[in-house]
Symmetry: C2
Subunit: 105 residues, 2 copies
Amino acid sequence: MNLEAMSDKAILGELGGRLQRERLNRNLTQADLALKSGVSIRSIQYLETGHPCTLASLIKILRALGNLTSLDAFFPEPGMSPVQLARLKGRERQRASGSKRDEKG
Amino acid sequence: MNLEAMSDKAILGELGGRLQRERLNRNLTQADLALKSGVSIRSIQYLETGHPCTLASLIKILRALGNLTSLDAFFPEPGMSPVQLARLKGRERQRASGSKRDEKG
DNA sequence: GGTTTAAATGCAATTTATTGCGCTTTATGC
DNA sequence: GCATAAAGCGCAATAAATTGCATTTAAACC
């Protein structure tokens, strides 16, 4: 399943389906998960059926499932590519800059 | 950095900071990212400063950064643990069930 | 097949996020 | 230093998500 090829909406649906499977694999009811996560049943139902939700809700649910560290995947913790390290001699960049037209088409 | 040990709010702040670093590493302005992702500048500012946001917004931004597949980390795509495979002989479970008191304290 | 209970659905109320706009602050390049 | 443009911030309006409740559907277990 290639997320890159899917629409935003389709991705939400896919993630919802996966959440549901994960919950069922653990044999939890929606009510169980609601209680553990602190999110209402109704929201969990929405989530599982692919409705848009809040990142806050997702975090609560991931915590309840013990899968919080999956959030690490978003943005690589260390950061700072070698290229960058070379470009800025010392200080860390606090703003984007540099004629703009250089790097972009 | 251990996300597990952080509050929901702290996690949002951490992720916001990482987004900002990632953006700067690519030397993109907030306006650039806003344009590429289809999310308003103001929302990006909120995001980077740890304000709660929508999963939809996050998806748009991840797509703009070419990091959509990081969403795969949430819930393992395949699923279905060996244990489960053993428990249900054939059909796939569609509801949680089973005396409840068995598995939980 | 009947019973139990998990899950789906519709709706209204409330809360929360998103956006645009104008203004201020400040890093960066010259 | 100074000019430029990126980023920060407050506010109000709009849009969107969350919630609770009541009802209906249907899996799971006997």
